[in-house]
C-alpha cells in the first residue's frame, strides 16, 4: 500500500539554526500519528513542511506517492509551480494553534470561502457543504456569527470544518488545543476523535497525552529536531526506550 505521506531524509534550517535533522516518516491511510515532544523540537515545522508553509532545506517529500518537494542545500531539484503547490495544499487540511479564522467573515462564510474560490463551486453547493460540516462540529446554530463572537473552542471547531470543506485526504493539526482554556479542550478533541473514527488520516502535534494514548495509532517523540522514538502509544507511554522520551513523559504525565 502506498503511504499517504512519506518524508525522506528531510533537513530544515532557519539560517544557521538546524530545526529538522534527517527526518524519515511514513504515514499510511487511516493512521493517526501523534507527534509529541518539548517546545522547539521541530514538531510544528515538520507539519508546515508538508504543505509548503515552510520549504525543506534538503530531502524529499511525497504525498500519496507523488513527489511534491525535492531539495538539496536549499535549492529545488524539481520545479514546482504555484498551481501545483495549491493543489497539494487542498489534499492536506490544516488546523492551526491560533485558529486563524477569517475575522471579516461569519462562521458559514469561513467554511464556504475556499470551496468557492479554489474549487469554483456555486454558492448554493458550497453553502450546503458548509452547513453540513458546521452541523458535524455541532455549530449549525452559530453559522451567522463572526469569529469574535465565538469561544476559542467554537472557533477551533469552525476552523476544522473550514479545513474539511476542501475534502482533504490528510488532516494536519498543529497544537489545536494549546491556545484554549482548559474547559474548552474537550469539545475540540471530541471532534478530532470523530474524524479519527471515520478513518481520516491525521498528523497531530499535541501536548494532550490522553488524546495520543486513546486515539493515536502511532506516537512519535521528537526532540531537538530529531525523531528520537516512534511506536504504538501503549509502548511509548508505558515503556519508553529512549532516555529523552522517558524524561519528557515524566514531566508531562
Amino acid at each position: 500500500m502506498m503511504p499517504m505521506v512519506q518524508v525522506e531524509n528531510v533537513y530544515k534550517s532557519f539560517g544557521a539554526l538546524l530545526v529538522l535533522k534527517n527526518i524519515n516518516l511514513e504515514v499510511m491511510k487511516g493512521d493517526v500519528v501523534c507527534i509529541i515532544g518539548p517546545s522547539g523540537s521541530g514538531k510544528s515545522t515538520l507539519l508546515r513542511c508538508l504543505n509548503h508553509l515552510e520549504r525543506i532545506t534538503s530531502g524529499r517529500v511525497f504525498i500519496e506517492g507523488e513527489i511534491i518537494d525535492e531539495r538539496e542545500a536549499g535549492k529545488d531539484q524539481l520545479k514546482i509551480s504555484q498551481k501545483k503547490t495549491s493543489e497539494i495544499c487542498t489534499e492536506l487540511g490544516m488546523v492551526f494553534q491560533r485558529f486563524n479564522l477569517f475575522p471579516h467573515m461569519t462562521a458559514l462564510q469561513n467554511v464556504m470561502e475556499a470551496p468557492m474560490t479554489v474549487r469554483k463551486l456555486k454558492k448554493l453547493e458550497a453553502q450546503e457543504i458548509a452547513l453540513g460540516l458546521l452541523k458535524k462540529v455541532g455549530l449549525e446554530d452559530k453559522k451567522d456569527e463572526f469569529p469574535s463572537r465565538l469561544s476559542g473552542g467554537q472557533q477551533q471547531r469552525v476552523a476544522i470544518a473550514r479545513a474539511l470543506a476542501m475534502q482533504p485526504k490528510i488532516m494536519l493539526f498543529d497544537e489545536p488545543t494549546s491556545a484554549l482554556d482548559p474547559e474548552l479542550v474537550g469539545e475540540v478533541l471530541e471532534v478530532m476523535k470523530d474524524l479519527a473514527r471515520e478513518g481520516m488520516t491525521m498528523l497531530v502535534v499535541t501536548h494532550e497525552m490522553g488524546f495520543a494514548k486513546e486515539v493515536g495509532s502511532r506516537v512519535i517523540f521528537m526532540d531537538n529536531g530529531e525523531i528520537k522514538e516512534e511506536g504504538k502509544p501503549e509502548d511509548i507511554f508505558s515503556n519508553p526506550r529512549n532516555e529523552r522520551t522517558r524524561a519528557f513523559l515524566q514531566k508531562v504525565l
Partner: protein, 217 residues
C-alpha cells in the same frame, strides 16, 4: 460692505471644481496607490524598486512644483509640443499621481498589519497569492485604512486650492477674484465656510464607513 448673495453662484461653481478635482484624485490615487502598495510588497526586486522610487519622488518634491511641471513642462516632452493640455487635465494628473504615493504607503502599512496567520490559513486552503490577497487580506485592511484615508482625503481637498495658481477657477481662485474686484477680503469668510462644510461632510461619511466595517470586531 457688499451684497454676498450675488456671489454665491460663482462660489458654488468654484466649489464644484474643487470637489471634482478631489474626487478624481482620490479615486485614481486609490487605484494606483493599491497597485503601488502591492508592488512594494512584491518579492520581485525590479517592481519593488520601481514602486519605491515612485513614492520617493512624489513624496519628496513639493506638490506645487509637480503641478507646475505637468502644466508647463510636461507638454514640452512631446514633439511637436503637446498643445492644449488644459489646467484641469494637468491638475487631474498631478493630484492623482501625488495622492497615489501617499495612499500607497497607507495601504501597504494596513496590509502589513494583518496577522501573518491569515495568509497561511488561506494558502493552506489552497488559495494562491492573488486569491488570498483579494478575498482575505485586502478586505481585512479596509477598516484600518479608513481613518488615515479620511485624513488624506481632507488634506487633499484643501490642497486642491493650489490649482488657483495655474488659473483653474476652483473655490480658492473664485474667492480671490471676487476679492480683487470688490476690494473686500470679507468674501474669504463664506469661502472658508464652504470648505468647512465640505470637510465636515467627508468626516461624517468616513465615520459612518468606519462603523460599517467594524461590525465583525
Amino acid at each position: 460692505m457688499f451684497d454676498l448673495i450675488q456671489f454665491i453662484p460663482r462660489l458654488l461653481k468654484g466649489t464644484v471644481i474643487t470637489v471634482e478635482l478631489t474626487l478624481v484624485a482620490i479615486v485614481f490615487g486609490l487605484l494606483l496607490g493599491l497597485l503601488i502598495a502591492l508592488g512594494r510588497l512584491s518579492e520581485n526586486a525590479v517592481i519593488n524598486k520601481f514602486c519605491w522610487i515612485y513614492i520617493w519622488f512624489f513624496r519628496g518634491t513639493p506638490l506645487l512644483m509637480q503641478l507646475f511641471f505637468f502644466y508647463y513642462a510636461f507638454p514640452l516632452f512631446f514633439n511637436p509640443p503637446l498643445k492644449g493640455l488644459t489646467a484641469t487635465v494637468a491638475a487631474f494628473i498631478a493630484f492623482s499621481l501625488n495622492s497615489a504615493a501617499y495612499l500607497a504607503e497607507i495601504i501597504r502599512a494596513a496590509i502589513q498589519s494583518i496577522d501573518k496567520g491569515q495568509m497561511e490559513a488561506a494558502k493552506a486552503l489552497g488559495m494562491n497569492y492573488g486569491q488570498a490577497m483579494r478575498k482575505i487580506i485586502v478586505p481585512q485592511s479596509y477598516r484600518r485604512l479608513i481613518p488615515p484615508i479620511g485624513n488624506e482625503f481632507i488634506m487633499l481637498l484643501k490642497d486642491t486650492s493650489l490649482v488657483s495658481v495655474i488659473a483653474m477657477t476652483d473655490l480658492m481662485r473664485v474667492t480671490h477674484e471676487i476679492e480683487s474686484q470688490q476690494a473686500s477680503a470679507l468674501i474669504y469668510l463664506p469661502a472658508a465656510v464652504i470648505y468647512l462644510i465640505l470637510t465636515t461632510v467627508f468626516t461624517v461619511v468616513f465615520e459612518k464607513l468606519e462603523k460599517k466595517y467594524s461590525i465583525y470586531e
